[in-house]
Amino acid sequence: MDIGALKKVSDYEWHIPQSGNMRVPGIIYASEALLRDMDQKVYEQVVNVATLPGIVQASFAMPDAHWGYGFPIGGVAAFDPDQGGVVSAGGVGFDISCGVRALYTGLRVEDIEPIKERLADLLFRKVPAGVGSTGRVHLNRQEMDAMLAGGAQWAVERGYGTPADLNRIEERGCMKGAKPECVSDLAKKRQQDEMGTLGSGNHYLEVQQVAEIYDQRIAEALRLHPGDILISIHCGSRGLGHQIGTEFLKKMAIAAAKFGIALPDRELACAPIESEVGQEYLGAMRAAINCALANRQIITHLVREAFSEIFPQAELPLLYDVSHNTCKVEEHRVNGHSKRLFVHRKGATRAFGPGHPDIPSDLREIGQPVLIGGTMGTASYLLVGTPQGMTLAYGSACHGAGRSMSRHQATRQWKGQQVIQDLARQGILVRSPSYRGVAEEAPGAYKDVSAVVDAAEHAGLAKKVAQMRPIVCVKG
């Protein structure tokens, strides 16, 4: 990105002054190095989002922002329904409620090392991953609707996990306001064999060890110590979310014209929050959030089953579950007043600061855990929300590393088999149905996740607590 057009406010905060059709300024949180590496399209997209009706304060981009569809990935924008605010399918993304979940295992790295080959094979067998894989939970019409209304709560009621899990999931595992009747038959059909599947692309299931602690007090409150083994699950709402995204992109492109909303890019398709299409999308999108929460809950159950075969005593309680492609109704302070806003986070994680009532009571004092996924060869991070983050970008932080290289470039540079061998030498076992898939996801094809997380911390968006390194990675 050409940083000449940006106004530097601090080393980690850069503004795009309001001009032309922009209703608010753009604000990018990143280091100068990350900013220079960002595609120029991110600048354009931040500016385009700033032109949408009812946008409040600013169009934000997180340190891992990259070129998305309409909205940048790593984009955060809030809209006020009282000011003609809009809801946008492109502002949420195709993989609705894609997110990261972490589980404790109570095990130590020395427990895992001797059996990690067996564990890797077992997890790969138990958790369906990759193109063409199907889950073992098949839902009829009635159960599909119950799942879409109930989310992880539905899954727990069906025996996948325990009620204690729900306390560690955003919305306590059930997104209110979901309307299964707003989800098309095609979307439901596309999902019928996909419950409890990881998917492909950058989705994964990892066995990780806590490698570093940055904040002793918070790590202690979260019961995290170096050498502890955690599980990380990264996936979303599968075919159902993709189909809803596809259908509403088109519906909203048509609706925007009807409502006289000028779109600088068709992909910014949106509709007024109070319109019929807007309400229909919100109902369907919330159902997809429940689908993602139920999906991660079923996968959690499969992981627990696998662990119980090797470690019959092990319990795998839920540490936390975050979603990074959502639109949620939240109360925020704007110009000294509390406002009810529709906050879009696309490739951005909610990161509420200490004391926020939506944080589970036993974690409220430390701030909301923020789980940042890395690549197969690098690290993942656990951060917590900060008080100042609430005023910087509605309590939001980054979501991952973000690609630095196209899939095509990656397959020219690496061979899947070689990537797997190289990682094995570093002690990381990869299991995947596709060598090409592994090559496309090679660690070198991503930006440095540590630089992204450091920028989020320096900008004040969230605070680093721990770094986790992969031991086993099941890749879709």
Partner: protein, 143 residues
């Protein structure tokens, strides 16, 4: 882009995802090639035997939305029926598309599918005739 055999397909880069582009002497041929490029995101189309056929019809207000609808119809069939396609016969009249696609069920050993396509997007979406009278049909797909 003006050089090379016709019809043909190619991929073009996008930050996180990938662009599919079909090039042909007619609009319909460009749509067929774009569909091949879509399969190539997942696997080598030459590995997919055209054993089963599926019929598609789509209608949209303009050619560009028609391309997105066509690719999304294929993406739905691939996801719902676990199929891959390698041969396409497309006809287009007044923004209405009729097509037959031939392919087979995904076989993880035979096809080694790399990645699943979530949806066709409006990013870099173009259906147009070039100065050389070639038709180009392209967009970015989300993977």
């Amino acid at each position: 882009m003006e050089h090379g055999a016709i019809p043909r397909w190619e991929h073009f880069p996008h930050d996180a995802d990938i662009g599919v582009r079909g090039i042909g002497t007619t609009k319909a041929q460009a749509f067929e090639q774009a569909a091949l490029a879509l399969t190539a995101v997942i696997t080598d189309p030459q590995r997919v035997d055209p054993k089963e056929e599926r019929r598609f019809s789509c209608e949209a207000p303009d050619d560009e939305l028609l391309l997105v609808d066509w690719l999304n119809a294929l993406i739905f069939a691939m996801a719902h029926e676990h199929l891959l396609f390698s041969r396409f016969d497309v006809t287009i009249h007044d923004h209405r598309l009729e097509a037959i696609a031939w392919g087979e069920p995904v076989d993880r050993q035979k096809h080694e599918p790399a990645v699943e396509v979530k949806g066709a997007t409006y990013t870099e979406l173009r259906v147009q005739q070039t100065a050389d009278n070639e038709w180009i049909a392209q967009c970015v797909v989300d993977v």
